[in-house]
């Protein structure tokens, strides 16, 4: 400690030992951060993390060891740090920061909050809590070699939500169910299938052929005939997939033939779909079995890691069989009504998706993928290494020291480049931008305009898709500004359940209506102006007016991006984040990680792993006008 006093002002060193700080997340950055904080002299630290330790954390989350796998991250992190620094006063919570126990009062206990999170929902939430409690927040993120740190203070800087973030990529239902054209479509289908069979059934995750496909344009008589045919066909009855699977005793061969033979043959009858496309080729279990057992499995080349090999069709049939058997017994052990949750790090769950996705890819004439690649795509995996986290955590604490010593004006947003840029800078610090005047979160009276169809949007969709998913509320209360204050949604459980299935128009909501939505926990009120529209594109439920996250950013100039950066460290000459163009899609990295449908990241980094551009996705425009996110790296 003698050494520290040397480089820190005495008052700062003293305030470190008395101030109380909160670390949200005990993962890659969190572990580094906890270590840096105690060794810099912070004494009172609280850490919260919902997660338990997984093997794949061990390559960077150094507070955990193999023996800790399955235990609470927050708790083990605390114990490991105490072992090295017994004098620190650490409180650990194995819990979600979104739990209402952690209210504004809780946040007010701290002098500083530091996020070390991996998802946008929690980042949005902590952002709001810190705004409500008026506590400074340091936000950070890493993806591969890239990283970013920024400081958020109410009224002084942009908040986390001041700039619109790209939305996560979704696919139209009919592409998934009827006409997959890229591996990712088959992977999404396989994940849906997992939930339909073993997990929580979700009506939005249908896997069977979609007869309402507009492209197939059925005539009604035909549809009915087909429906009749399937009724009498025995196995293809339209009962719940799960019930049906259970009734067969999760018989792999029966499941296989329904999914990969009967359903495909059914799709083939929708002949309009295949006029311009290559038609799928159904597979038959028994036929494959007799071929497969005759042919020895020596054809797989034993090169490279096992996970990176692509098995043959029969190999995936066997994997399909084995994974179903394992998952079935897991389900049985859990007892009646139990459900499994898909997790990329759970071997049988990943095996199942690998097998089912590959079989479907084969049926639709796509090149099959290794388990390793499937895991990337299915798990939205963002590559992560120790070194980047170490650098970022080092930067966070330097910013933290400035906050604690009351020097908020000298705080910066810092971008970490993959290697020194053309101006030879590995780090690019930028002055913090002031709050955005019309931010829908930190403005004094937040207000947005949402374009939707009041005749087709249900109250439940308003609550789940718009208020929770899009606007990050946890438990919204909504009333209509109709002079009577009609309550549309109540956060009290059960109070307004009867409204859920009704349409907004049933409550007199029409073009120009205003809805007031409150989140008590977040101390946040949002006024929503309804713009009725009947011309929304298919599969688009609503649009937020004036925010276009899917628009490509202006192309970075060919000249070095930071031409406006002053060479030295003259603060006044540093650019603000809004006029710096960063290379690639990461210009606002911490805002981006969950959008990166990982393959895009991989494309940059793994030249030799032969994850072809096919996997990396091209800008595809097909009949539904769907475009993949255009923020691709060059």
């Amino acid at each position: 400690m003698v050494q520290l006093v040397g480089s820190l002002r005495k008052e700062v060193a003293e305030s470190l030992s008395t101030c109380r700080v909160l670390v949200v997340g005990a993962g890659g950055i969190g572990c580094e951060l906890l270590k840096n904080l105690v060794l810099t002299g912070f004494k009172n630290i609280e850490v919260i993390d919902l997660d338990i330790i997984d093997v794949s954390n061990l390559n960077r989350q150094f507070l955990f060891q193999k023996k800790h796998v399955g235990k609470s991250k927050a708790q083990v992190a605390k114990e490991s740090v105490l072992q090295f620094c017994p004098t620190a006063n650490i409180t650990a919570y194995h819990d979600s920061i979104m739990n209402p126990d952690y209210n504004v009062e809780f946040f007010r206990n701290f002098m500083l909050v530091m996020n070390a999170l991996d998802n946008r929902a929690a980042r949005n939430h902590v952002n709001r809590m810190c705004l409500a409690a008026d506590i400074p927040l340091i936000e950070s993120g890493t993806a591969g070699y890239l990283g970013q740190v920024t400081v958020i203070k109410k009224g002084l800087t942009e908040c986390y939500e001041c700039q619109p973030k790209p939305t996560q990529k979704t696919f139209p239902g009919c592409t998934i169910r009827n006409t997959p054209s890229e591996p990712i479509h088959c992977i999404v289908w396989a994940k849906y299938l997992f939930n339909q069979l073993f997990g929580e059934e979700d009506a939005d995750q249908e896997v069977s052929p979609d007869t309402a496909d507009p492209e197939a344009s059925w005539n009604p008589a035909e549809t009915e005939a087909r429906a009749m045919a399937s009724e009498t066909d025995g196995d293809i009855k339209r009962v719940s997939t799960k019930e049906w699977a259970r009734s067969t005793g999760y018989d792999p061969a029966k499941l296989f033939n329904k999914l990969f033979k009967d359903d495909i043959m059914y799709l083939l009858t929708m002949d309009k779909l295949w006029k311009k496309r290559k038609a799928p080729l159904p597979l038959d279990w028994h036929q494959l079995e007799s071929q497969g057992s005759r042919r020895p499995q020596g054809e797989v080349k034993a090169v490279g890691l096992k996970d990176q090999q692509v098995l043959g069709v029969w190999g995936y049939c066997q994997l399909f069989q084995h994974s179903i058997e394992t998952l079935r017994s897991e389900l049985q052990e859990k007892g009646d009504g139990a459900e499994l949750v898909w997790d990329k790090d759970d071997a049988p769950a990943l095996d199942f998706v690998t097998a089912a996705a590959n079989l479907r890819m084969h049926i639709f004439s796509m090149t099959m993928k290794s388990r390793f690649d499937i895991k990337s795509m299915a798990g939205n995996i963002i590559p992560a290494i120790a070194t980047t986290n170490a650098i970022i955590a080092g930067l966070i604490v330097m910013e933290g020291l400035k906050v604690v010593s009351g020097e908020l004006e000298s705080c910066r947003t810092i971008f970490l480049n993959k290697h020194p840029n053309l101006r030879k800078k590995l780090l690019v610090p930028c002055i913090l931008d002031p709050p955005c005047a019309n931010c829908y979160v930190c403005a004094s009276r937040p207000e947005v305009t949402v374009k939707l169809n009041v005749l087709k949007t249900t109250v439940l969709a308003l609550q789940d898709r718009i208020l929770k998913e899009r606007f990050g509320m946890v438990a919204p209360d909504v009333n209509i500004e109709d002079g009577k204050g009609t309550i549309l949604i109540s956060s009290e459980e059960g109070e307004t359940d009867a409204n859920n299935g009704k349409f907004l128009s049933d409550f007199g909501i029409r073009n120009g209506s205003r809805l007031q939505s409150d989140d008590f926990l977040q101390d946040y009120t949002l006024l929503i102006n309804v713009l009725h529209a009947e011309d929304l594109e298919k599969d688009v439920e609503f649009e937020v007016v004036g925010d276009a996250p899917d628009k490509a950013p202006p192309p970075p100039s060919n000249q070095e991006d930071a031409s406006s950066i002053a060479n030295g460290n003259k603060d006044s000459a540093q650019p603000s984040t809004s006029n710096v163009h960063h290379p690639g899609p990461f210009s606002r990295l911490i805002f981006a990680p969950i959008l990166i449908g990982t393959p895009y990241v991989l494309k940059l980094s793994i030249a030799s792993m032969d994850i072809g551009a096919q996997l990396c996705g091209h800008l595809q425009v097909d009949c539904w006008g769907f475009r993949s996110n255009p923020m691709l790296p060059v």
């Binding site: 520290l4 060794l39 072992q83 496309r277 070194t387 330097m398 993959k418 590995l426 030295g568 980094s605």
Partner: protein
């Protein structure tokens, strides 16, 4: 064995996605040496042990003191009084049982006196908080045998790194802004055939507006070439005319207005990219002509053998072109035709890689494949030696004086660090280590600054503030600065060991107060 491989795959999953299993393999075969297990030293090692470096050896003659424990996560109260190399090795080893940890209870100077060859065995040597004399001695030993040497130093609120390596070869430089390798100016026969299969004139509207722009340009280029004696559009005027030609190709509605065909817009935008002539980059050309490539002997490193194979390919099968990269950019297209086009390029790349592998036949076939695809991205990094940097006759005066035009450039920190070296030489201690010394050391350090500038005949001025600041630092190693440097240095070590990505050349400075950094060639 299979089981351990699977568990490694799981543990290293997130990083395999960055450097691949071949990157991981070289990492697991590397042996790094760390001199001095200070906070910066153990932070660097931590970041190498976690991703699974093969082995490390710590060299440190110090006994652990209380102040060591205060800023170093890998020393505990129980370590006090023990040898620092041993104590740190034990705790670092706990992080990863796949890694072999070793230690030597001697100082680097003792080893240099008794057994300088000891250092030859390492993949890279990392020297932390070394005095100038040790740095120079070790630097010359390692330089002579070609072992890379990474010097790291955390000094108060600054971090310093210097890479010293005579020659470092990079196969996968992973450039950010590589030009596409489309070969439209020199189409290979499979590409020509594929392009032939498209008939823009007879396409239906939907197909027309989803034809990949590469095909569009290739088609119009064909027409252009016949109209212009086989000469492609070269200057701005010609390219503009060519763009106009493409625009004319957009379908028209009945009223004569052009349809909205985004793929044609893309084609127009990409004219420059597409017409970029296919040639061997000059950086690679230089490598081809280098001594090591022309004279292959039994001593030649694999890199040069493979490079020679690529050169042979260019001279023969390639007819002047590097092996094809086999990738095409994202573009508007329907999936089927995109994939078909992509396969044409991919097959060509596989075919070329096989040809390169043939040239290396007896040597490393699999690596030949990696090299073939990355042929345009080959790099060799040459650093200057420490002796060159420090000698009055070869000091990089221009770089220093031009940077010092702005008095707060990170360069001033470098000059301060060199002055601190001088202070240590004269007083056998660093300035301001004890509070009572700070005042008197300020003037002493100022003298060192002046003599440094005089010796190198540098006409620059250093603000007194920096001299005060460096005395106040008292050679402290604050943990958070050490943590930053630990991440940055370990990343460079991984680059060096894996021969992927281009390492910095040759000096890196981090200013923790302003959160800025710079790299200099000194």
């Amino acid at each position: 064995m299979a089981a351990t491989k699977a568990s490694k795959e799981q543990k290293y999953d997130r990083q395999l996605r960055l450097w691949g299993d071949h990157g991981q393999e070289v990492l697991e075969n590397a042996h790094v040496c760390l001199i001095n297990a200070t906070a910066s030293g153990t932070e660097i090692l931590k970041n190498l042990v976690l991703p699974g470096i093969g082995a490390f050896t710590i060299i440190d003659g110090h006994t652990v003191l209380g102040e060591d424990v205060g800023n170093n996560f890998f020393l505990s109260q129980n370590s006090i009084g023990r040898n620092r190399a041993q104590a740190a090795t034990e705790l670092l080893q706990e992080l990863n049982s796949d890694v072999s940890g070793n230690f030597v209870e001697e100082s680097a100077d003792q080893l240099l006196d008794n057994d300088p060859e000891f250092f030859h065995r390492f993949s890279i040597v990392i020297g932390v908080q070394l005095s100038e004399s040790t740095r120079l001695r070790l630097g010359s030993v390692l330089w002579a045998v070609g072992v890379p040497f990474l010097v790291c130093w955390t000094y108060g609120l600054m971090g310093y790194m210097r890479l010293v390596v005579k020659e470092h070869t990079v196969i996968e430089s992973h450039p950010d802004n590589a030009l596409e390798d489309l070969r439209l100016d020199r189409p290979f026969s499979e590409l020509t055939d594929h392009i032939q299969s498209y008939q823009l004139e007879s396409m239906e509207k939907k197909d027309h507006s989803h034809t990949p722009w590469i095909v569009i340009i290739a088609k119009f280029l064909e027409t252009w070439l016949t109209e212009h004696d086989g000469q492609p559009p070269k200057n701005y005027k010609e390219k503009e005319a060519f763009r106009q030609m493409i625009r004319e190709g957009i379908l028209k509605k009945e009223n004569g207005v052009r349809e909205d065909e985004e793929n044609f817009e893309e084609a127009v935008k990409n004219v420059n990219t597409a017409l970029n002539p296919t040639k061997v980059p000059s950086s690679v050309e230089d490598l081809f002509n280098s001594e090591q490539c022309t004279n292959i002997t039994s001593q030649s490193a694999a890199f040069w053998v493979m490079l020679r194979a690529v050169k042979e390919f260019v001279l023969h099968e390639g007819k002047g072109c590097l092996p094809a990269r086999g990738t095409i950019p994202d573009m508007i297209s329907d999936s089927q035709r995109f994939i078909n086009l992509q396969n044409v390029y991919r097959d060509k790349a596989l075919q070329d890689a096989a040809a390169v592998a043939k040239h290396v036949e007896s040597l490393l076939q699999t690596t030949g494949k990696v090299l073939g695809k990355n042929a345009a991205f080959l790099r060799v990094v040459h650093c200057r030696s420490l002796a060159e940097e420090y000698a009055v006759e070869s000091v990089n005066k221009d770089e220093i004086t031009s940077c010092m035009d702005s008095p707060d450039s990170e360069m001033v920190l470098y000059l301060m660090l060199r002055s601190v070296d001088r202070f240590y030489q004269q007083h056998s201690r660093y300035p301001g280590v004890y509070n009572y010394q700070v005042e008197e050391d300020i003037s002493k350090l100022k003298l060192c600054v002046t003599s440094l500038l005089q010796e190198y005949n540098l006409n620059v001025s250093i603000k007194d503030d920096y001299i005060h600041e460096f005395c106040r630092y008292g050679a402290a190693e604050p943990h958070t600065v050490a943590a930053f440097l630990g991440g940055a240095a370990a990343q460079e070590v991984i680059k060096m060991v894996s021969h992927q990505f281009v390492p910095f050349n040759n000096t890196f400075i981090y200013n923790a107060m302003s959160q800025t950094s710079a790299t200099y060639q000194l």
